[in-house]
Subunit: 393 residues, 2 copies
Amino acid sequence: MSPFTFTLDAECPDTWARAGTIHTPHGTIQTPIFMPVGTQATVKSVSPEELRAVGASIILANTYHLMLRPGSALINSFGGLHSFMHWDGPILTDSGGFQVWSLGHLRKLNEDGVTFKSHLDGSSHSLTPERVMQIEAELGADIILPLDICAPYPCSAEDARAAMERTHRWEERALIAKEHYRPEQSLFGIVQGAFEPELRQQSARIIGNLPFSGFSIGGLSVGEPKAMMWDMLRYVTPELPRNKPRHLLGVGSPEDLVIGVGMGMDMFDCVLPTRVARHGGLFTNAGRVSIKAARFRSETGPVEAGCDCYTCQNYSAAYVHHLARTEEQLYYRLGSIHNIRFMLRLAGQLRDAIIAGTYPDFREAFLTRYIPASEKIREAQREKWKVAKARQQ
Amino acid sequence: MSPFTFTLDAECPDTWARAGTIHTPHGTIQTPIFMPVGTQATVKSVSPEELRAVGASIILANTYHLMLRPGSALINSFGGLHSFMHWDGPILTDSGGFQVWSLGHLRKLNEDGVTFKSHLDGSSHSLTPERVMQIEAELGADIILPLDICAPYPCSAEDARAAMERTHRWEERALIAKEHYRPEQSLFGIVQGAFEPELRQQSARIIGNLPFSGFSIGGLSVGEPKAMMWDMLRYVTPELPRNKPRHLLGVGSPEDLVIGVGMGMDMFDCVLPTRVARHGGLFTNAGRVSIKAARFRSETGPVEAGCDCYTCQNYSAAYVHHLARTEEQLYYRLGSIHNIRFMLRLAGQLRDAIIAGTYPDFREAFLTRYIPASEKIREAQREKWKVAKARQQ
């Protein structure tokens, strides 16, 4: 029997939302779930014990970053990521494809794989579907992803098709290669197809029929309008097998989680909750607030009334404001804990609503009261981050 | 009965070392003790629960920083520092004198007090002995210090005397003013006198005879050679009353703690353990090591074998090395926890040795095996920090 199972606990009759349970060698995950991102084998500023305390049941780590530093062989010699980073719960590693894609001119692509120069020291590296399986075997995550090609936005239909078809060939190679390394790891397939409805449908159908343990939807949230992203899922979800988990890669915000669940997605991951926290953005039921705003200066209540996170249980909003304004390290921790807890509580509420048969009402109520960062603010932030990232490279 | 008491538990027959117990309204402190510094109402990167876990029994906060941001009136409106920062143990606040002194050309001194421009926004502020008592009453620490003048190193005997005499007049004013604000706070006297043995002796005698709850030795560790600092204590300690605690302001390193205890000091505070941790310097029984060094890259053991801190109990040195190299925020926390725990364990070992009558042996064994950062490295670091600080201003 495979150590990986997925069972459906409830399905929404009016939408594609479902509640499920995933068993992995390192523990159980109840879906829908948000997965905090631990890019470099650490969820920025948060300890494993704190992740447990906020209710994290699975985290994600990035193959690209870890293969470069400290190296997957070294992590393997420590018994894998779990023991290296002192997190004994489930881990998902991505394939590095998305990060290599982001390197732009620093990479070269051919049928065999991709070569790229490290953003750290310019050294050359190459990834093939087989090599990625080897690296992820060394990292030892419970769920692993195959090397894929993330088409840019916008992209011609022709390029989108070429990228998708090559991705499919790579995924078949990954399925074979994986058996040579750690067969007990669970390999998810990745659906691509850019923003072409027909390609998305085709990709979901082809990949959905291969013996993957679950499916990640890639190539979305790459700069397109939100509506276009959701539109793509309309073509993808119906083609995927009902009895396997679906992961929306790199998404999202609180509102994305609420909407994505209705589009049939079970798993979400994103650096957003921790990244916006570091910049002062904290989630509340009424929307995202900036804790640095003057109105919090003398606020004796918590960041959010009724919140059960460590931050809100122990500190006034004024103190969190003070730490954020003085750029104290404890702020980054308190802000991250609050936002991750918000995401995980939200995931739990979505699950409860699905099981209770009230998901559509929950969604409507949430989206009515929750004011997200506007598209304009999001755009401006994205640009700022791009510039900051370019500087680091 | 005063809520503040100091009792001597043991005295070393061969040195001036002693073990004592201080009672304060927020708890008991066993001496010798190291006090972690929470400049801006937070010990950088460490939570109050973690401070408790490493054995911290008192922390220090800086009046200068807090009066500027978020302001002592605001902290007072939250019920004082304890509840504002979620630390219910004893707190000591300094007077701001040392920081104002460090501002150099930004300050002006006269008999009444000192005016200075904020390093944050250039706004003008003035401190008098009375105003400092008011601010510290608003901050609400258990132990408070009076405004003093920290003479530079080097300094003419004439200037040293003038600064000392004015400090003495200010301290008498502080004693009177304090009764108007929070008489239940414990005011320590500050001994000055720069590097003039006669002045040091005189200052200790005069201040030692005033009704302070304890004594802080100021004006040391300002750039002079270490030997000169210890030499000054030879003149100070014998003049101070035996039955009150003695605090060596802004000192020190592990070796300073070990030596200072023998010079009759009971309390120590310094940003050094957390600051060097942030730069990769971690304390071990064999001396200070740089966790960023290549030799830790694949070290499966902890930073220090046998260390009982959270970091060493849960993470390999290789993982800590990885976090330090990638500048991950969790590193700063793990490094700080390790170093603070080292200092507090050392303080406890010193106490045990004093009680067991073996302090001189303990000191000799420690100083034989512990290799501190050399005077040269220390000098270079101090210069780097000065430059970094100047840039911030």
